[in-house]
Symmetry: C2
Subunit: 248 residues, 2 copies
């Protein structure tokens, strides 16, 4: 374990300020040996979408190979807002759903970096136009990525799959109106296993989060499917997302 010369009294007042920015009123740290520099903060976002049976991830070209969209947080915004901006800038896509994943400390470049991972979902309707300067990659056949990017993706997959079970996240991957088969297809794609049609429909109807529209989709030589809409009411994502709106 590292020596604790850099530690600050855990019960002390406002956090100490690193030398580059610290004012002169910061007496506690004068004697600290080789004062710790502040790390860089890096928001990384993983964007998921589904398209014809595949779960896709947005990756952009990097100096070497590929990588997740990333960017710096803005001091005036919440982290969530910064993440939203990064998604928008990096992909031109308006995400439907955004969730903070995990924060980790890495040294992948010579510099010390704190990475805040975010997961975003965009609906498959908006997906076909691939993100500017980037491309959609099938999550099952990703190019080699940095260790940190890989960790963010692995974790996002675990979280996304788990959340399918007890939330309605999947709706954020679909366009405004959709058929029940499309919804089931999204579930099956993400979980990579087949689901029973009748049980699936019963559950999702019983949950009451869908309202049927009067329209139908006729897209082949078969019976047309009723289009449903997601009842935007209260989107019980609650579980893992903080109950408060992040803010200052």
């Amino acid at each position: 374990m590292v020596d604790e010369g850099v530690a600050r009294d855990p019960w002390s007042g406002p956090p100490a300020v690193a030398p580059a920015v610290s004012g002169p009123d910061d007496a506690r740290l004068d004697a600290a040996p080789a004062e710790t520099p502040r790390p860089a903060i890096d928001i990384r976002a993983i964007l998921f979408t589904v398209a014809d049976g595949a779960l896709l991830v947005a990756l952009g070209r990097r100096d070497v190979g590929w990588g997740l969209p990333r960017g710096d947080p803005s001091p005036l915004d919440t982290l969530d807002a910064s993440a939203r901006r990064i998604v928008r800038e990096g992909t031109g896509l308006q995400e439907q759903y955004l969730e903070q994943l995990y924060t980790l400390s890495v040294r992948e470049t010579p510099d010390w970096t704190i990475i805040v991972g975010y997961m975003a979902l965009v609906c498959s309707g908006a997906a076909p136009p691939p993100p500017q300067a980037g491309t959609w990659h099938d999550v099952t056949t990703l190019p080699p990525l940095s260790h940190a990017d890989q960790m963010v993706i692995d974790y996002a997959l675990v979280r996304l799959r788990a959340k399918l079970g007890y939330t309605n996240v999947a709706f954020h991957l679909l366009p405004q109106t959709f058929t029940l088969s499309e919804l089931q297809g999204a579930y099956e794609t993400i979980l990579s296993r087949r689901l029973d049609k009748r049980n699936f429909r019963r559950r999702v109807i019983a949950s009451g989060i869908l309202s049927p529209t009067s329209e139908k989709r006729r897209d082949g030589s078969h019976r047309p499917a009723v289009l449903y809409r997601f009842r935007a009411n209260e989107d019980h994502e609650t579980h893992l997302t903080p109950p408060w709106a992040e803010g200052t």
Copy 2:
């Protein structure tokens, strides 16, 4: 929404480095107006324990009022390791369980700070010696706290209560051996509602995570209770905690 003058290309290579530390090879940002300084990083830990029917939180005296234990991350450690160190330094307690909660960006002091929230559990046996320079506070009657501290606590409570349902976290709040009534008491304290004794015992026994010891606890004029031990085997915390060990 903030203007995007400070933004960096989300598809670019390694993260840009703030001026204080940046090398000369960082051409992309030369023209950026009023380059953003790096925020301070602040780890905040909420420590829970249970003692005679109350859920307690460790708070320390601060310049004004009370606050959660806090500290800087160390560049050489994972965030988890830094959080562990902060808990240890601030309270003298060896936590049994540590979990990252959420990261947020605040401006509670004039400085811009990124707060990484952690939750730690310590067993009620170790609790009575109150943390050095701090005190245990009943979670239902906390003193006024900073907005950020309050958010961390609120979120930790939600997470802790939710996790009681599908993990074994509660065991980390109890000493090595304990009676089923003590375990049930911990659940009831955290959830603040009564549970059915028979159903509780059936569930917890059926789950197979307890092994009875040969000892009994006789602590009153009534039948002695069998002491159980937590089978440390595989502690299925899995769900929300990243499957990877955080690292560089």
